[in-house]
């Protein structure tokens, strides 16, 4: 089979002058400036988490938009009195965020004492998170007992959908916190590990903020 690639003129050797080293830079430029390739720069974990949160935000923007439109065009929208437990749950989630934030700051200022304590200190956060999820399930049971199920009317559909979507993402956050708690010793000992803890905290706090938004939306619209 004839190969026939176009032949380019042979290149001459480049001058051997090493020249100047170019200025590095640009946003978030190379980590050690062309040095030995190492692991990713620390702030990449923040970039990653923030991008994930951007996608999650868009998901809830889409669901919000659907709610507003669906309510606007329909004759079958029925208001639902929100179960009280949803409001109590908010306090539970805020408390867990406060605890996590306090632990995180102590970790970074080396006030935790023994690094293994990180694991201990995260347990209450985990428990509060699980309590939140249990509370959400409790809210669903209360609604079901009132005869309000997923398909009963569109407001109920959105209530279940939004709380479920939030709950699932929160559960993912719980998995991350559990992972941090299990690896507490290794993570606390390195700057990279502590950065990962920060990233998990950013996610968790966002879930709390998102919940407050969802609750406000449900209170106003459902």
């Amino acid at each position: 089979m004839a190969s026939g690639i176009v032949e380019f003129p042979r290149s001459k050797p480049l001058p051997g002058d090493p020249g100047r080293r170019a200025a590095g830079g640009g946003i978030g430029g190379g980590d050690d400036g062309g040095g030995a390739g190492g692991p990713v720069p620390l702030h990449t974990y923040y970039t990653g988490v923030c991008l994930a949160l951007a996608a999650i935000t868009m998901l809830f923007v889409g669901l919000t938009s659907a709610l507003v439109v669906r309510k606007g065009i329909s004759n079958d929208w029925a208001g639902i009195a929100l179960p009280r437990i949803l409001f109590i749950n908010t306090l539970v989630l805020v408390a867990s965020s406060l605890l996590l934030e306090r632990t995180r700051r102590q970790l970074h200022t080396f006030r935790l004492g023994d690094e293994a304590r990180l694991g201990e200190r995260l347990s209450p956060v985990l428990l509060l998170g699980l309590a939140f999820l249990a509370g959400q399930l409790g809210a669903w049971r209360e609604l079901a007992a009132r005869g309000i199920l997923l398909a009963t009317n569109p407001s109920a559909s959105f209530l279940y959908l939004l709380t479920a979507a939030h709950g699932l993402h929160l559960a993912g956050g719980l998995v991350a916190i559990a992972w941090v708690a299990l690896r507490a010793r290794t993570l606390a000992a390195s700057l990279r590990g502590r950065t990962m803890v920060n990233a998990v905290a950013i996610y968790w706090h966002f879930m709390g903020t998102l919940w407050i938004y969802i609750l406000a939306l449900l209170s106003l619209k459902i």
Binding site: M1, A2, S3, G4, I5, V6, F8, S11, K12, L14, P15, D17, P18, G19, R20, R21, A22, A23, G24, G25, G26, I27, G28, G29, G30, D31, G33, G34, G35, A36, G37, G38, V40, T44, T47, G48, L51, A52, A54, A55, I56, M58, L59, V61, G62, L63, S65, A66, V69, R70, I73, S74, N75, D76, L150, A151, P154, S157, L161, A165
Partner: protein
Amino acid sequence: MAEPRPAAPVASQASGSVLRTYVFSTDHKTIGKQYFFLALFSVIIGTILSWLMRMHLAWPKIPIPGLAQLSPAGAPGGVMTPEYYLSLLTLHGTLMVFFVLTTVPQSGLGNFFLPLQIGAREMAFPRLNMLSFWITCLSLVVLLSTLFITDGPPISGWTAYPPLSALGTAAGPGEAQGQTLWVLSIAIFCIGSVLGSINFIATTLDLRTSGMDLMRLPLTCWAWFITAIMSLLSFAVLFGACVMLLLDMLGHTHFFVPGGLVLNDQIITPPGAGGSPLLWQHLFWFFGHPEVYIAILPGMGIVSHVLACFSRRPVFGYKSMVLALGCIGFLSFTVWGHHMLVSGMSPYAGVVFSALTMVIAVPSALKTFNWLGTLWGGKLHFTTAMLFAIGFVSLFVAGGLTGLFLAEPAADAYLHATYFVVGHFHLVMGAAALFAIFSGTYFWAPKLFGRMLDERLGQIHFWITLAGVYCIFMPMYVMGLAGAPRRYSEFTDRFLVPLAPFNKFISVAALITGVAQLIFVSNLFWSIFRGRRAAENPWRATSLEWSNGGTLPSGDLSTRRPVVCRGPYEYSVPGEAEDYLMQDSPQVAGS
């Protein structure tokens, strides 16, 4: 201080089992190739499906061998029912849009070349990258499983409009199990896509080597970056829409199913108690329009890259090209309503969407003129990659201009859901984007496989395919203007019967063009194993993937990374001895 050039690359991933190295690999190059071959597999199936449809359109009564075995209910005696035609159409569209056009240019070529072009060792999150691939793979398996279930794939098209898609078996064959599997497949794909986008964006922002400022990025990197942002934002919305559709199908909710719906003399929903099919359309097209730009943008980046190399000139107007990519990316989120101009939404909304669609033509036209400007006065080398890149420009114009016709509400009132639309989107996606993929493959084969693809076969492949796609899709414009509706499996209406010769011509062209792709496939596989071994930089290109520093095997932690001193397209720099300067070739005093 001169960076010492590394010695010959050491073996990568020293202690890998076959499973670790080739299957569950976290190496971006392997993952890129996995996506590439997943898409190749998908495009073969998608093409076969299109052949089946074209054969039926041209010769409706002739039985197709093997079809009766695949689906006895859908094609009794080998002649497909109208419903089965719609099933094949749905699968064809879904495979091509999601698993070919969204996958190859971005996840396939992007994963392989983005780290190399920015001088990074790896993507930002390699394990997430591997997870993204396997999620996409799972999505494909779920989708293809619809071919083998009793009722077959859904009949609602790749756009899955409710109420058809939400009513289960009552709405038609394939609407129960098939539709559920389809929605699940797409929802899974959304997750894989979002995870992949996170990787692309983080890598581009954080892992550029020193000297690689944003305005020194090759246009491929800009295209991948902006496409990833679009993916991140749009697939999330589609995921939400898919969940709501699933709830409508399985949970008896009424997000999209309207009130007062009667189907087969059965009342499905009581009057006044129901949702809006238009809501699905808004949500879907909010994703759907960025999606088609996700399909074309990386191709535009590749074309800029290839045209510069083989014109031996910098890209004309690099900054405006970057700005144009950004504008297209941003504006793509504002024009979704042009898919719904005849849906009954407010005509004032239609005016706004129409105007914005005209506006988005401006950066697209800017890019086209800049490509011509890149070619003008250049020392042109007509390699296969170059031919496909020029072909892209031609097809993009042929297909893109008709988008403006469709953007005009009065014209769209007539042309919507006719073959005019089919011709338009096939020329931009099925032809232009495909040509960009071919261009990238021929251009980058030396890096992907270490071998050159055979040029003579490539040239034959190009000319037949160029003639072929024009023969297939230009007549569709004429058919559309004559009023031929899309998604019809047979043209039996009186006004459609005279168009039968068009159908036959298109089908013959499609079969020939399809067969010609075997030239490419055989060239590809033969060259992978027995092709001519490629030099380090056979095209004498400037970007980092061709430099010594760019060929770092994964797992090699000791080698230093390139330091970038110049822009991405320094071809034919006046006063230089060479007609190209690599991005990391050192600054020389006085130059």
